[in-house]
């Protein structure tokens, strides 16, 4: 298959995942819509063209590790895991419900496919660092990917981990930041200006690639570059559109943690056709 075909297939897959995200959050009546839709292309590229994972052997010691630090966008992760065959699509519609494996925020013991429990922001990267350091010292080749939001760069813990990764030359660690410029109370630059994450990561000794996080070709290319021999931890800053694909949700921070009602769900699914 040539590159173009791969990208087309990934885009098709992403579209289906987006539809499920809308349906499952609507069914749950609560959940985080904007970030989930914004990161769908990254989730898709990771699970369908990058990560070495096996739905039949989720705890394979040779697997790659995906750590979702910004746990609230788990609808995106859950929908991607289902599409990749980790569990039945039907389970998606138990999201946030009583005794479901799909807890409102990811819980490792409720869904063993997960590497970590998350939701509280700013503690995913440190865990990813621990995993990466351990694998590195064991001379293993598993990749460690940590997904983070821009909002969680407000947390001091994030910067502690960024320095740590540099100190220990975690060249097996890849961070992908959802740079969607929104958080709960408003736009990131109003709530707590982050400025250039590129400059910040560079000055902390990391490699950095900036991409359009909703352009499948750019995502695939960046992931390819991430596998090239390097001496540093690498951050892909994925500039995404929160609510991507559903015009009336795009770039609107009010959709950070809102579920679409009946009518909005219909309109959203129409737009995602």
């Amino acid at each position: 298959m040539d590159k173009k075909e791969v990208v087309n297939l990934l885009n098709l897959q992403a579209k289906k995942i987006r539809q499920n995200i809308i349906k499952m959050i609507h069914e749950a009546k609560s959940g985080h819509t904007a970030g989930s839709l914004g990161m769908t292309d990254v989730f898709t590229a990771l699970y369908f063209s990058f990560l070495n994972v096996n739905p039949k052997k989720p705890k394979d010691p040779d697997r790659d590790y995906l750590i979702l630090s910004n746990g609230h966008i788990c609808p995106g992760l859950y929908a991607t895991l289902a599409a990749r065959g980790f569990f039945k699509e039907q389970e998606l519609f138990t999201l946030r419900k009583f005794e479901s494996g799909l807890q409102g925020h990811p819980h490792r013991e409720s869904l063993p496919e997960l590497e970590t429990t998350s939701g509280p922001l700013g503690s995913g990267l440190s865990q990813a660092c621990g995993i990466a350091l351990s694998l590195k010292r064991d001379k293993k080749n598993n990749k460690v990917v940590c997904l983070m939001s821009d909002g969680e760069h407000d947390e001091g813990n994030t910067w502690e981990a960024i320095m740590f990764a540099h100190k220990y030359h975690l060249d097996n660690l890849l961070v992908i930041v959802d740079r969607n410029r929104i958080q709960i109370d408003g736009n990131t630059e109003q709530i707590m200006p982050l400025g250039s994450l590129r400059e910040k990561y560079l000055s902390f000794g990391w490699g950095v690639i900036d991409i359009n996080g909703n352009d499948m070709q750019e995502i695939v290319n960046a992931l390819q570059r991430a596998t090239i021999e390097r001496e540093k931890p690498l951050a892909i800053i994925a500039h995404t559109t929160p609510g991507k694909g559903v015009k009336f949700m795009e770039h609107d921070y009010n959709w950070h943690g809102r579920a679409p009602n009946e009518e909005e769900t219909k309109r959203a699914l129409e737009l995602l056709k």
Binding site: S100, H105, H107, G151, D154, I184, D185, I191, M192
Partner: protein, 314 residues
Amino acid sequence: MKELKATREGFGEGLLLAAKQNTAIWALTADLASSTGLLEFSKEYPERFVEVGVAEQNLVTVASGLAATGKIPFATSFAVFSPGRNWEQIRTTICYNNQSVKIIGSHAGLGVGEDGATHQALEDVALMRVLPNMDVIVPCDFIQAKKATIAISKTKKPTYLRLTRQKSQIITKETDKFEIGKAQILRKGQKDTVIIIGCGPLLAEALIAAEELKKEKISCTIINLHTIKPLDEQTILTLAKKTGKIITIEDHQIVGGLGSAISELLSEKLNVKYKMKIMGVENKFGESGTPEELYEKYKLNSKYIKQEVKKILK
């Protein structure tokens, strides 16, 4: 149906009232202005409002600095993050340093519901109760949250105010008095009754249980212990002495919460034989579900209160 309102809404209204009276009152939040009832305040008093972003350690330490110059800062977030994440900062820079900062922890308890265990603070009362200088207050409804907010704005003490996400029944009246450290008797039973002591919206379940038990000729006294620290020792001891049958209920871990505080008191100072049952979360985390489903699973509703009353009478 009676109107339901959340205690966090009561806090928001109370803070506006207090801020009108006292210009030293400031409010800070960590990217949770609307969820913690601060939206109005941020519009009304932008020059007394501070947004720190998702940074709970910074939230309370900046608040400590503000207090050092005479401000009365109310620092809001979800209880799991503040006082959950920033406990040592609260300990040293607010309690040991003795600054009048008000820690406002919303979304406490299983009542958070669908967000699941990561967002359900079940340990916050224990974390705050253990700190010297800290007052700990858990209002039971919208009205009481409003009054408690005004009351704590008038003290010089570090204070923790525990709030809830879910809309819940209003069980107190605007005319009821609220005094920090003075327990409220919500329902008076006959002598030799069972004493139910609780805090927070779960008290509505105790009231339902008591009403139903009355039909079975069992009478209960219900105490709303909205202040867990300082403890109203006199009220508790006087009532406990009369009956020797005490049940406590809270949406919190059994270890370290209200029941724990009362049991510390009784074991040392109650000079009669007594039986006690502490109802709360038994060494577990919460999970996703509706508040009703969770209170059923964790045995914290009127049905289980009735069962415990009958058990303790045996």
